[in-house]
Amino acid sequence: MLTYVIRRILLLIPMLLTISFLVYTALELTPGDAVSALINPELASRLTEAQFYELRESYGLNKSFITRYGIWLGNVMQGNFGHSLAGGVPISTIFLDRLPATLELSLVALFFSTVLGCILGTYSALKRGSITDSSLTVIGMVGVSIPEFFFGLVALLIFALNLGWLPVGGRLLPGYETIWDRIPHIVMPAMVLSLMMTAGVMRYARSSMLDALTRDFITTARSKGLPEWRINLLHGFRVALTPVVVLIGFRLPVLIGGSVIIEQVFQWPGLGNEFIGAVRGSDYPLVMMIALFSVFTVLMASLIIDVLTALIDPRVRLS
């Protein structure tokens, strides 16, 4: 198992190198150069020509492309992501500022969609052919095919503007910091963000469960005189779960992509919101670093999912 995890981590390295190289190349092609973006622009404006040259020299800006990439990579790995063009704020500061909000939103959405999707999908499979099953199937189809921002806007219109039950947007009002103050803010964005994923997980859990229920070991379990709940959940669902976890891994990028839009719709102060701002303001260093960061997140998530899959499947766990 440990070797499996280590091998899996080693596999990540070439991927990360390739992607960071692509990001770096893109940064080089944008106006200004990547390394000068590492220097605080406030500081740079106060420098004399000679001092600036020295500084460029010290950052290795006059060296070859590959060397510059190496220097940049070294900086990134130490947490120096460079500076945003807008206001010259270090990008790492922006990350520290915005990341918690994004994490909060995506983790809540991930939790919702996994739990809800599994429950609905399993229920649907167990009640195969019933009205509940057919309605859930239709809802699922609608769920995966209608874009999230549309749901977001409709939800805003109904629950915030018409009914006034939930706030229109934002994460926290200054001064209100208990968890009870936070919940109303996160309910809508998290729900909307998890909708598509829930529908996907539900559909997949349903078919995976149906498949599991036709397997021979279900008959064996029944022949032992076990009660139905145990046959369905302990034997059926447990086996159906593995492919569902894999699917959730595959869908994570969709969740991350979705959060960009949802954060915008609900004015959620996260990285996605920042990303849109950066794109609008042609803040290339920031855009690239956020992109690099999301790729990194997706890869890490897929690593976690793989390890999880291995943990719940003894055939992988033990080999």
């Binding site: 397997r215 064996t220 022949s223 032992k224 005189g225 009660p227 086996v239 719940i312 003894p314 055939r315």
Partner: protein, 337 residues
Amino acid sequence: MPRTQDVALSVKNLKTYFYTNNRCNKAVNGVSFEIRKGKTLCIVGESGCGKSVTASTIMQLLPALSRIEQGQVTYHSDSGDVHIEKLQRDGKEMRAIRGSEIAMIFQDPMTALNPVYTIGFQIGESLKYHTDLSTKEIREKTIDLLRGMGISLPEMRVDDYPHSYSGGMRQRAMIAMAMSCNPKILIADEPTTALDVTIQSQIFELMDKLKAENETAIMLITHDMGVVAELADDVAVMYMGNIVEAGTVDQVLRHPVHPYTRALLKSIPVLGRGRNQDIQPIAGSTPDPYDRPIGCQFAPRCKHRIEACDVMPQEVTFNGTQRVMCWRYKEFLPDAG
């Protein structure tokens, strides 16, 4: 006729039909037989004749689109007769019988065990639901069972997952599971078809030993006449949902009467009789289960067909325990010349 107190289970005029795509498949169409206590009943017949459906009916393990149409399945338990056909499929009474009074082992041990649970867990489940044993006692009993099935190092193998067991070991584990609560009846549906020959004989030896030790009645479904000759006390020959001939192993194998039984015996090589056996495959093939002949099901393939065969023959009992469904059976009796 065996006395009733010797009978573990009796099936009377059982009909189990499948309803798929608005068509009806009369998979089991009026079979009657008895499983005697501590004896082995072998059910033989070509693929699709309804052997597995009969077994599933006894356990009420039928798929949703099939149902018991008619007839009785009576389990003669120590505390009185239980009419299985009247019980709710997955109701409490049926569950109390499954795995405890009547247990079953299946054809493919590779797929019959759940890959995500240890062997010990899966055997323990039966004990957990049918006995009052504590978790610790269940574990000890499970290890004992595995040891009894000839699995070496059972203390360690009990925590292994099915994928690390070989096919033969899995079937042993399945038998351990089935025997865990000392069932009165063990139903084995082609338990060795998926295993190789040497393992086959070990599994059958094991079953025979268990039968002798625990007085378990066995209903064994098989294609292998050699196995029948070796293990069976009684034999029932099925064809297209009917038992066309039944009796003791001597009666059916030595003095087969029904043309189908005789054709079947000639079509199968017998182990140990050498290479130059006179093997004659049965001419023709089994009819479409959705479009069955009206009369004798075997008539279209039968060399002895007459006009009367267009009507379903009555079942006749002779020689005490031998039964046959054939209009012309008298002509085929051993003393008919």
